[in-house]
């Protein structure tokens, strides 16, 4: 369906700027949404997608800029206010009450009443009617939690329609749905589009975006890259716009990645057919001594999920793993550590740093966990290790007694790197170690990875920045839509080629 640009937009955001402590989250971003369109909002982590959504739905206060809804200037100070203005949001983690019935979730707060008491027959009849409008046949008296996430999301959309929403924001609704469920959701979305609802759609799946959207707005690093008609934007152009290029002067590292890897004999780690239902499809990965393997792919492509399986952070339900040729079972992080594997999560705050402990305690934490509670890392030993790593990685400020939570992101990342290096692993799995940190710290970390692999450490390196992956890795595992779609030698491909591979390679494009 072609977008009628003559129709005035229902939502017009102009020059939206939001400043968080230390970060410019949104920098003069314009965004418009028209009735009867499905508009995809694209961008990598930290691009500002969720910030923009939260600005529109009244969760965040905007520092400057204007929001117009249906031609009138509005300032929302709560989600309730945005809802009253006809803007409803359905989140990835469904914001309904799983303990209540389907019908009640649709109607909660708007139940028909008779003589002051809720008329349950009418509640369920009305809910049934709203669900039917979306083509859903459900037992409205069944408990919401007895339904799949997909159905729960459709129920949430149905609720938004009870509120008579003109704008529907779908924030990564498809990330936990299977193919059939996605089809059902898309059918509902198209239905709503026909009836004039404006839909803002966020998804990491390129196929889905191209299948259902009319227009695409791309954000990067808090700034607007542009707004495009889907027909005018080929996939590789989209990926290029999302990822962008960052010129960092790291030529000398790029040379080092050229060194030959000895691939005779058993690899340090070899995983075959390792996968998890609902997480990532079975894939093979092998890493040799001193080798850096990059995992490339967009956010949500399954790169993190695969890394977590290798470390035992999540339990694989298929496949086998070998370390130096011996079969091993890795069902927990502890077992992985015993086999010399270390893992640094992409989620520093929730899964990495122990915020209330000091920098020093955080650095020796890995060793301490390895040794158990009886053998404490003695003060002298701790001081020596901490001093070494603070100097080697350039942690700033170089104060071991500082609360780790007070460090900047880049320095927290260095502390985590130190934590794992101190355990002397054979294989390090680094998930987005350079995300959200300044250029200097980024270069420090890249240099350190190159240096360590030179000395024989094997590394799995995951990053959204393809140039970084290309520079550091000898081989690249490419992921898309929760599948491994191929493996490339980094000498045979450049950034454009890799983008093209991620966006277009058909071999691995499997409909789930």
């Amino acid at each position: 369906m072609a977008v009628d640009t003559a129709v005035p937009p229902i939502v017009q955001m102009r020059d939206i700027t939001i400043q968080f402590p230390g970060v410019l989250a949104l920098d003069q971003v314009d965004f418009s949404l028209r009735p009867g369109e499905i508009h995809a909002l694209m961008g990598e982590n930290g691009a500002g997608k969720s910030t923009l959504i939260k600005a529109l739905t009244g969760v965040y206060h905007i520092d400057s800029g204007t929001i117009e809804v249906a031609g009138a200037r509005r300032v929302f100070d709560s989600t309730a206010a945005a809802q009253d203005a006809g803007i409803s949001t359905v989140y990835q983690e469904v914001n309904l009450c799983a303990n209540l019935s389907v019908g009640e979730n649709v109607m909660l707060g708007h139940e028909p009443r008779r003589q002051g008491r809720i008329d349950w027959t009418a509640v369920h009849a009305e809910a049934q009617r709203h669900l039917k409008n979306l083509g859903l046949e459900l037992d409205t008296r069944s408990v919401l939690s007895s339904h799949s996430i997909a159905i729960q999301q459709l129920v949430a959309i149905s609720r938004a329609m009870v509120l008579d929403s003109k704008v529907l924001i779908l924030d990564e609704p498809t990330s936990s749905l299977d193919r059939g469920e996605v089809e059902q959701l898309f059918a509902v979305m198209r239905e709503l589009r026909e009836s004039g609802v404006a839909i803002l759609f966020v998804s990491h799946f390129l196929d889905q975006v191209y299948e259902v959207s009319d227009r695409i707005t791309v954000l990067r690093d808090g700034g607007l890259v542009g707004e495009f008609l889907v027909a005018d934007l080929p996939r590789d152009a989209l990926v290029t716009k999302m990822i962008g290029r960052e010129m960092t002067d790291l030529a000398e590292i790029s040379e080092k990645s050229d060194r030959a890897i000895d691939r005779d004999g058993a690899p340090v780690l070899s995983a075959s057919g390792i996968g998890r239902r609902g997480g990532v499809a079975p894939a093979d990965v092998s890493v040799y001594k001193g080798e850096v393997i990059g995992f490339a792919g967009l956010l949500g492509s399954g790169r993190t999920e695969l890394a977590r399986l290798i470390y035992g952070a999540d339990r694989a339900d298929s496949g086998e793993m070998q370390i130096h040729g011996d079969n091993v079972k890795v069902h927990s992080p502890r077992q992985a550590m015993e086999h010399g594997i270390a893992f640094s999560s992409e989620n520093r705050r929730d899964e990495g740093i122990i915020a209330d402990l000091t920098v020093a305690e955080n650095i020796v934490f890995g060793i301490q966990a390895q040794r158990g509670w009886t053998r404490r890392v003695k003060n002298g030993e701790q001081d020596a290790i901490v001093k070494d790593y603070i100097a080697a990685l350039g942690v700033r400020p170089a104060d071991p007694t500082m609360r780790a939570g007070n460090l900047s992101g880049g320095n927290q990342q260095k502390v985590l790197l130190a934590r794992w290096l101190a355990t002397a692993p054979e294989l390090m799995v680094l998930d987005e170690p350079t995300r959200g940190i300044d250029v200097g710290a980024k270069a420090d970390i890249q240099r350190k990875v190159a240096e360590l692999s030179d000395k024989g450490l094997s590394v799995i390196f995951i990053s959204s920045e393809l140039e970084e992956v290309l520079r550091l890795a000898q081989r690249i595992v490419v992921m898309r839509d929760r599948h491994k779609i191929g493996e490339l030698d980094s000498h045979d491909v450049d950034a454009a080629g890799l983008i093209d591979y991620i966006a277009n390679n058909e071999a691995g494009s499997v409909a789930r």
Partner: protein, 340 residues
Amino acid sequence: MTTVQTTTADRVASVTSFLRTFTSRYASVLPTLAAVGVLLLLLMGAQSRFGNFVSPGNMSALLLDNAYLMILAVGMTFVIVTAGIDLSVGSVMAFTGILGASMLSTGVPVYIAVPIMLGGGATIGLLLGVLVQYFNVQPFIATLAGLFLARGLAYVVSLSSIRVEEPSLLWLQATRFRLGDWYITPTGIIAIVVVATGALVMHFTRFGRTVYAIGGSEQSARLMGLNVARTKVMVYVISGFCGRLAGLVLTAYSGAGYPRNGIGTELDVIAVVVIGGTLLTGGRGYVLGSMVGVFVFGTIKSVISFMGAEQSWTHIIVGALLLVFIVVQRAIVARSDRPR
């Protein structure tokens, strides 16, 4: 042959589909049904053991003896369904009782004393609700302060028991409306009215549904535009009111106010509410289930006194039953929350 097979298959299919409908709709009733089962087993067991256990007199006494507990359980159900907890109810009950007894003994007329007992104006429940909602104090800690406060105030009123001689208050207990060998006292009627009102409010008002929504997910409830703050404060006010009403009933029952009344009662109340099928993690539970829980508790007590055993067995058995129910609930919730 084939036809027979299909009909069997159909029958199996219809049974399984019935089961599926049932579990998808009523999984949350299962713990309460289990409590009903436990109650029936207890009654049948006791009847076959003693022969005269399930008698009209004994069953009527069950309601009479546990009226105060039933009232407290209703208030506690509201609080626990929002995933909160109220530890102050036993102390509030004692404070109300001794306050009332003291006022009546100093000649305050009953039509003034009773409204004061039931408490207008600033109440402990309101204080606790405000602490929980606006100052983000954990319910456990806030109501702990309430427990201390009310207990201490009870002793401030009087350090020893005060007899109540006010006839209208004693009337609540002494009057027996009879139907054959069955009887009910006004205190029993109050308890039943409280249960019925509680059940209706929970099921048929937006306030009641908001209570459930908060227990399911407070954040969702807020995003759905429900009035979370007011509702959360209200449940503590309701629980506080039930505590005071229970104090009035207990004073009538025992004919005296006593500052040591209701020590540990908050635990009994929590136990009966959980045994009655309310989830301590919030979101599921029924006022009627709590009533069943009270009957289970009362029956255990009465069986133990029939057997002439130590009353301390009551708490051991209730504790064990509580544990079983908590573990079973965990299993049921884990199962029903797993999406298909």
